[in-house]
Symmetry: C2
Subunit: 289 residues, 2 copies
Amino acid sequence: MKRIVIVGLGFIGGSLAGACQKAFPRAEIVGVSRTAASLQKARRQGWIDKGYPNLAQAFEAKGARPLLVILCTPVDTLRDLLLQLDQVAWPGTVVTDTGSVKGFLVRWAESRTWRRIHFVGAHPMAGSHERGIDHAAPHLFDHALTFITPGRRGPQSTLRLTTNFWKKLSGRVVLVSPEEHDRFAAQVSHLPHLLAALLVVSTPPKALGFAASGFLDATRIAKGEPSLWVPIFLENRKELHPWLENFSEDFERVKRIIRKGDRERLKRILTQAQRRRVDLGKGSCGVED
Amino acid sequence: MKRIVIVGLGFIGGSLAGACQKAFPRAEIVGVSRTAASLQKARRQGWIDKGYPNLAQAFEAKGARPLLVILCTPVDTLRDLLLQLDQVAWPGTVVTDTGSVKGFLVRWAESRTWRRIHFVGAHPMAGSHERGIDHAAPHLFDHALTFITPGRRGPQSTLRLTTNFWKKLSGRVVLVSPEEHDRFAAQVSHLPHLLAALLVVSTPPKALGFAASGFLDATRIAKGEPSLWVPIFLENRKELHPWLENFSEDFERVKRIIRKGDRERLKRILTQAQRRRVDLGKGSCGVED
């Protein structure tokens, strides 16, 4: 790696810049952000070597040919950024991203002809309900799982470069289809987020004053930024919907069980939940999605 | 307080014994547990001065008249224990408890005639998904909120004694009707617990392997002990049911919003959830229910 360009210096982009600085000490790390304060903070922390307010300036600048660009902006900005990059990047530039939804982007990208860039989607399962570079943490990805979601075509060398990059940065790399990724994400990240938000909204304000740590933990993710989450829910509608239906059915079933006072069936459900959740704590990657 | 009898030396009873030992240094703290190891541990920790395997022996023993008995056993054991206590306790003994559901117990108790005891229900909002005296923590109640749920009759002095006891032990005491308590508990504790358990059970095992800290936090309470939680759900059916219905309706509504791609309404819900949850973190008692 000679030159790594990170687009977007929020919580993820800032953390990633810091992580790259450690993992690739000989590479030049370039940050792109419209926000002057974020560029300044990244420079002050020593996370980026150079910073630019937009893509055009980042690629006009002299210096080593950029081998890898990582997009770290909300999922609804990624298509536009790929189109822009295809205008300004050096031919042969590899582009990856950190977005929480993959199908819509990878399938769209492989349906087009690209002149200069090769895109390989990725999603490191690391994050926070906090946002902005002020909360960024360069070791965020150390033990994280990163999904890589290659499209149906594209050179092997491109996939290898992307995979090696994420292997160097995160704890574990898993290759899956974009649709499989979106299904997993719907199950372990998007549905839980929706339930947490609904739980907060549907609880009467007076009762909220009596919330203790159980409620607080169960709803922590509801602090997440709506401008990031709205596009996630909408872009992942297709894979999310069947799991929302599935959860509805399970919820209706348990409601009936409780109404009928079916002690045995209720106990079976709670016991299965307890066993699986205790086991999970032992093996999981334990970092935020 | 001259003599305090704590019945049940699990996580709550053990913690309460330790807390009483600190808060009432001149009182004799007596523990009652069928489990020899729990009595032993409580004695070794200096949390109890005396320990007995059953109520009869605890009350046969010589010593100061017990002024207060606290029941710290699962909610489905409390009726039986009150009946037993009424056989063996000193006349005028005040009994309180720590159970998570109040209506069924308080209304049942006030419908009967008691010969020796006066019962005043209570629920300190403190706990853990861990169980047993090995996890007990004497400062568990320090900042907790305790609900006191008096029945329609019973002498003021009894209520005063109970209230003073919980005031001394916990951060804040709130007097509400048993039904109001059960509604609050359904909202901030029982529904969240049910959702967490269902989330674990409804997620395919393969996807569970990709769970990160968002999912782990959202489902931590699902580790709770089914033998405690089944009676809670069943005894609180009446107040719980409308909130399960309410949540179903909210969930169906947000499913439609996502299916239609209604960006604005989805954003409004997530923004309201974010705002309320962030505010909540600031003011809540921050201890487990």
